[in-house]
């Protein structure tokens, strides 16, 4: 057992972090916000291997595992990289052109029938929409989608297409792949939330070190210190839960995959929401402005919390395993 990142994993992390910091640093957000999705940016992500990461070499991939995918998505989460990242990554082996970024693939999780409106993230930017159902995956060409772009999405970096009716689509994969999508999708969303939990902690810590009130940095007050200490614990819990779930998916003999992944989604969801909320609070009035980072992170957290199963859904899934 060596539950430390190996050198390749560290290199992957470093490479992605430096790419993402440069391309998606907060100073770029005002510009990105005007047009969150562009084909050029998407190609760059493909070149970085974000989608092909786990494909066999023969298919143009690098044959990495879920731990590496989790590390990659953690970095994407840290800088709120926009686009249907999870769907295109999952689709790499199913939809031609997804791995290279030529075909932009999004999706809708329909495994849990609900009365929710049909809101497709980046719907207007897609080539292909996948419909994830319990018994299989259906493919719909984006051109056949009828819908209305939502005027004000919650997350300014996640535009939504409100689809009036779903075409039936073409069945391209069965129940096994559907189950795999659901589980891996949940983990990748958790990984992005881990990134959010980390960066909101970093932002809030830095702000607390420099912002002065009552002639001292606010970070010298226990009230702020203890909030941040709790944020640190939550971000750490999220980190190791996500990595452990990745390692379990990579070798299911080391644990229960569903339990590991659902635990990660619960803990990372909790951490992202907690830390983003505290980040707003610690920034004080500035946390309530559009111009500073905290609100973007909080808003994205809601998007990811509602992707591939919420905290209560996954908590119940863990409970079901306990009782098994």
């Amino acid at each position: 057992m060596d539950f430390q990142p190996n050198e390749d994993q560290l290199a992957l992390q470093e490479g992605l972090r430096s790419f993402v910091e440069g391309r998606y640093g907060f100073d770029r957000v005002p510009e990105i916000e005007k047009q969150p999705f562009t084909r050029e940016a998407w190609s760059e992500l493909a070149e970085m291997g974000v989608f092909a990461l786990r494909l066999p070499e023969a298919e143009g991939g690098v044959e990495l595992g879920m731990v590496e995918a989790a590390i990659a998505f953690q970095e994407l989460g840290r800088r709120l990289v926009p686009g249907p990242l999870i769907w295109s990554h999952l689709a790499a082996s199913l939809v031609a052109g997804s791995a290279t970024g030529e075909t932009v693939v999004g999706g809708l999780d329909l495994t849990h029938p609900s009365s929710d409106p049909l809101l497709v993230e980046y719907g207007a930017d897609l080539d292909v929409l996948l419909l994830l159902r319990s018994d299989g995956i259906d493919r719909v060409e984006a051109t056949s989608l009828e819908g209305r772009p939502v005027g004000i999405p919650l997350d300014p970096l996640t535009p939504m297409l409100h689809v009036s009716e779903l075409p039936k689509g073409e069945r391209i994969a069965g129940a096994d792949d559907a189950e795999r999508f659901a589980v891996e999708g949940a983990l990748l969303a958790a990984a992005q939330m881990l990134g959010i939990a980390e960066l909101t902690l970093d932002y809030a810590t830095e702000y607390a070190r420099t912002r002065e009130q009552f002639d001292r940095p606010i970070g010298s007050f226990q009230a702020i210190k203890h909030l941040l200490a709790d944020c640190y614990v939550k971000a750490s819990q999220a980190r190791y839960a996500v990595y452990a779930a990745g390692a379990t998916l990579d070798d299911p003999t080391v644990g229960d995959v569903v339990r590991a992944v659902s635990s990660a989604k619960v803990v990372a969801g909790e951490a992202a929401m907690h830390n983003a909320r505290k980040c707003v609070q610690i920034y004080g009035g500035m946390g309530y402005t559009w111009e500073l980072p905290p609100h973007y992170y909080l808003k994205r957290t809601f998007v990811l919390e509602n992707a591939f199963g919420t905290i209560p859904t996954h908590a119940e899934r863990v409970a079901a395993r306990l009782a098994a």
Binding site: P153, Q213, I224, V280, W290
Partner: protein, 397 residues
């Protein structure tokens, strides 16, 4: 301990209820977020209607054009206002709830006759110039200066979180008039006309994307000395007196709103389906909403206790901070629950389905994030409670 309203209160309630039932629908729906002229018209128009009906400044003394209502009548007023979903006080907020009462308490006769009737009739909009970029929680450290020059003060500084600054005729302004005194002792409270030279307004978009707030830059603004309210350097006391009076019954309308929102959530949860069952079939959700409602009830009772205490003693008790803390934290939890209940419908800030009020719920949730920060953050309130109510020793500085 008696929760029954008197016959006079109930008579007032019936009167109000009839009037709201008639007037609220007539006043129509509020205009869009960015139509400033229309919003001003809507807010001040409603204020004028209140004034004409005798309901403006319900808690202001009669001599200044208010209704001079008792505290329980005031409570009835807020209850009925909330029940009728009457227009929110909006742009009249600072004038009616803050600036006006301060002028009543501390202003001179000229200030009173100049401003009070116009505020009541919706003819004067006020804004607030208290916070500064480096003076938030530590408001008393403010550094905007006012230097006396003849019969004027020359003001320089930078204010932030000024709501509706560009729509306002006047600003209640805190300035430092004595830089050498201890920080609480060198502050003055004045009325700044917003049409003076040297005032620059720069909108500050909130996380809602709204530009209700601004930064206000003051460069050599010459304010007539007669606009000083109270004594020079007595501004900190003046501010705190008003603040203390402001709390209390003002929460009443919000509390009623929270209770009816929780009822709305219950109805919504019956309509929303998840996994082929109504969301309301989820016991965890029911318990959560029931729990939140119990807490709202308790705050409502607390406010009634606090108002009764003020009615008896004439002075608001110390519980304002504690009620503010409890109320604002609870408010956030309630709208977070609402946003979570919406599921993916909560990922948009406009309505995307029949009976799915995403816009209102999500925007309100985002709005609640300011409540635990503005007017003394939760951290500041906890300091106040622990030091002033529980008498715990101060921290070393």
């Amino acid at each position: 301990m008696d929760l029954r309203y008197s016959e006079a209160d109930e008579k007032f309630r019936r009167e109000l209820r009839d009037w709201f039932a008639e007037e609220v629908p007539k006043h129509g729906d509020p205009p869009g977020r960015e139509d400033w002229a229309a919003r001003r018209e809507y807010d001040t128009g409603w204020q004028r209607k209140l004034f004409d009906a005798g309901y403006a400044g319900v808690n202001w003394p009669k001599e200044y054009g208010g209704r001079g209502a008792t505290l329980t009548e005031e409570l009835v007023y807020y209850e009925e206002m909330a029940r009728a979903r009457a227009p929110y006080i909006g742009m009249n907020f600072v004038g009616i709830r803050h600036g006006g009462p301060t002028v009543i308490a501390e202003g001179d006769e000229r200030q009173k006759t100049t401003h009070l009737p116009r505020i009541l009739r919706g003819e004067e909009v006020w804004c607030q110039g208290f916070s500064e970029p480096n003076s938030g929680s530590d408001l008393a450290s403010l550094s905007t200066t006012a230097v006396r020059d003849g019969d004027h003060y020359v003001v320089n500084g930078h204010k932030i979180w000024t709501s509706f600054a560009h729509a306002a005729e006047y600003c209640e302004l805190l300035v430092r008039t004595n830089p050498d005194a201890p920080k609480h002792r060198g502050i003055s409270w004045m009325i700044m006309p917003m049409d003076l030279d040297g005032i620059e307004i720069r909108p500050l978009p909130t996380l809602l994307g709204e530009i209700d707030f601004s930064e206000v830059f003051l460069q050599d603004v010459w304010i007539p000395a007669e606009n000083l309210v109270g004594a020079e350097n007595d501004g900190w006391r003046i501010t705190n007196v008003t603040l203390r009076f402001e709390r209390g019954s003002a929460w009443a309308a919000d509390i009623i709103e929270l209770q009816s929102f929780l009822e709305e959530l219950a109805r919504l949860a019956k309509r929303i389906t998840r996994d082929d069952a109504a969301a309301w079939d989820d016991r965890a959700l029911r318990q959560e909403i029931g729990h939140l409602s119990a807490e709202v009830e308790s705050l409502w009772a607390w406010i009634k206790f606090s108002i009764s205490e003020t009615a008896k003693t004439g002075i608001p008790g110390l519980d304002g901070s504690a009620i503010k803390l409890g109320f604002t934290e609870l408010n956030q939890r309630i709208y977070e629950t609402g946003t979570r209940l919406l599921g993916r419908a909560g990922l948009v800030r406009e309505d995307v389905g029949p009976d799915l009020p995403s816009e209102r719920i999500v925007d309100k949730f985002l709005n609640t994030l300011s409540l635990t920060i503005a007017a003394g953050s939760s951290q500041i309130q906890r300091n106040i409670i622990s030091e002033r109510i529980l008498k715990l020793p101060k921290e070393p500085r």
